[in-house]
């Protein structure tokens, strides 16, 4: 395990991410509302480059049994990444797959020290 400085914190704005190579591995680093998350650029489905996929929100739906109506709400904009290969969605805060329980991205610890984002791989 080694810790690497990847970028100055003020160069990665909320909503942005970058992919860096650390110890021969591609790592995606995300700023979500001022919190940082890092994942190996490897989709747990079929090894696609997950961190090159689009980020989006989550469409949630609720069925009102009395009114027999379904309402939808778009929430958590920017907190979901979809793999560019097959579209599998992962929660960037937890790393968990949104469809299949128990499937997770490989995550890495992220710290900010002296204004720099450090990732431990």
């Amino acid at each position: 395990m080694a810790t690497h400085s990847v970028i100055d914190a003020d160069e990665l704005d909320p909503g942005d991410h970058l992919v860096v190579e650390l110890e021969g591995k591609e790592i995606g680093v995300y700023n979500i509302d001022g919190a940082y998350y890092a994942y190996t650029n490897w989709c747990a489905h079929q090894s696609g480059p997950i961190c090159e996929g689009p980020t989006s929100g989550l469409l949630e739906a609720e069925f009102d049994r009395d009114q027999m109506e379904t309402t939808t709400e778009y929430v958590r904009e920017g907190e979901i990444v979809a793999c560019p290969w097959h579209g599998w969605e992962f929660d960037l805060v937890t790393g968990e797959c949104h469809s299949k329980p128990g499937v997770k991205l490989i995550s890495h610890d992220v710290d900010v020290e002296d204004g720099e984002i450090h990732v431990t791989v």
Partner: protein, 376 residues
């Protein structure tokens, strides 16, 4: 290896309680059709009476049950027509209960109302037929159970019919014939039907027919010439559409206490569909936001599949593999009595012999007792 049972002095299926989830008393049989017609208003009371009217149901060749070898008789109608269907001792008790060892038949009238063009006709025919089911069959034996048949073109009328009969002790589910619907059954227009069934604790049972499903897949069936083509695909195609439409529209999530039973389609297609739906769900999850778990979980939790016609691999153990993948908790026995492609319980029980006894009991009777909440 064949599937024939060994002749024995013992009563068939003596050691297992057997619920047959698919027994037909076809409403197009002339004995029944005349009783149904008598409960309807003019012109239907005349038109639909096989002794007076055209003997048809809006299509000259779809439901006539006449001696003419029309499509229906080719597809099994001969079995229906040749017996005296309202003689329950000869039609049900002797062949099915004594002959096969079935303890409790769940009887349906296998109507294919959604293919008929006249909506007023089918809305009238629905309660008339269900009343005949009660009078001729439910009242004949406390050991008989039945399914409330509904058309789906007028969903509110279907829901009203479920509410009208839903508390009858022997009517234990709702029967729907996929085939002829205007839209996929998962669409919200059909929600009143699911709500009424769920409110009454009744599972919804789907059973198509080769003739009925042709209305949905006309382009494909037009290219088919022999029964091995048509009858191989009709039932599983119809049911793949039903299950997929319900899952894709979130119906099991909207009605979490509702259970669905698929009849006469065998089981081999189900593992395929589960795995493919899982894959599509993961790719397109945002388009099906009502789903809160994998499609496979909805299918395992809320869907049941009847055995007949059980597939026949060259290597017998492959069917055991299929049973294991689907799981005995999702499987219910059925004969399809009286049709030519029926399964004899003594003959097919061997396919389940690798299972522990309690799981064999589940398949042959107890799953159905639980899902249909049979008071036995």
């Amino acid at each position: 290896m064949g599937t024939a049972s060994t002749p024995s002095e013992e009563e068939p299926m003596e050691d297992l309680l057997v619920v047959d989830t698919d027994v037909h008393v076809p409403e197009h049989h002339p004995d029944i059709a005349e009783k149904v017609a008598a409960k309807m208003e003019m012109p239907y009371s005349h038109l639909l009476d096989p002794n007076k009217g055209t003997g048809g149901y809006g299509f000259p060749s779809s439901g006539s049950h006449s001696e003419v070898p029309d499509t229906l008789s080719v597809f099994g109608g001969r079995d229906d027509v040749s017996s005296d269907v309202t003689d329950t001792e000869a039609y049900i008790d002797e062949p099915l209960r004594e002959g096969f060892g079935v303890d409790y038949p769940i009887i349906n009238m296998q109507p294919m109302w959604d293919v008929y063009p006249d909506t007023e006709q089918i809305v009238q025919q629905m309660p008339a037929a269900n009343d005949v089911l009660v009078e001729e069959f439910m009242d004949a034996s406390d050991d008989y159970f039945g399914l409330i048949a509904v058309q789906t073109r007028d969903p509110e009328a279907a829901a009203a019919e479920i509410r009208r009969l839903g508390d009858h002790d022997q009517l234990v589910g709702v029967f729907i014939h996929p085939g002829g619907q205007e839209r996929g059954l998962g669409e919200s227009r059909y929600d009143p039907i699911w709500a009424a069934a769920e409110d009454h604790g009744l599972p919804v049972v789907f059973h198509t027919t080769a003739t009925g499903h042709m209305w949905d897949m006309a382009g494909i069936y037009r290219t088919m010439s022999v029964m091995p083509e048509i009858h191989t695909l009709s039932h599983p195609f119809a049911m793949m559409w039903v299950v997929t439409s319900l899952i894709a529209n979130g119906t099991p999530a909207k009605f979490p206490d509702l259970e669905f039973v698929i009849l006469e389609s065998g089981i081999g297609w189900v593992p395929y569909l589960m795995s493919r739906l899982n894959r599509e769900y993961s790719t397109w999850r945002s388009q099906v936001p009502l789903l809160e778990k994998m499609p496979e979980e909805y299918i395992r939790d809320q869907f049941y599949f009847s055995t007949q016609p059980l597939g026949e691999f060259n290597k017998r153990s492959h069917m055991a593999d299929m049973i294991d993948v689907l799981g005995p908790e999702s499987i219910m026995f059925s004969t399809d009595h009286p049709h030519y492609d029926f399964d004899n319980p003594e003959s097919i029980r061997g396919f389940f012999s690798h299972l522990p006894e309690e799981e064999q009991r589940a398949v042959f009777g107890e799953n159905a007792i639980e899902v249909f909440d049979l008071p036995v």
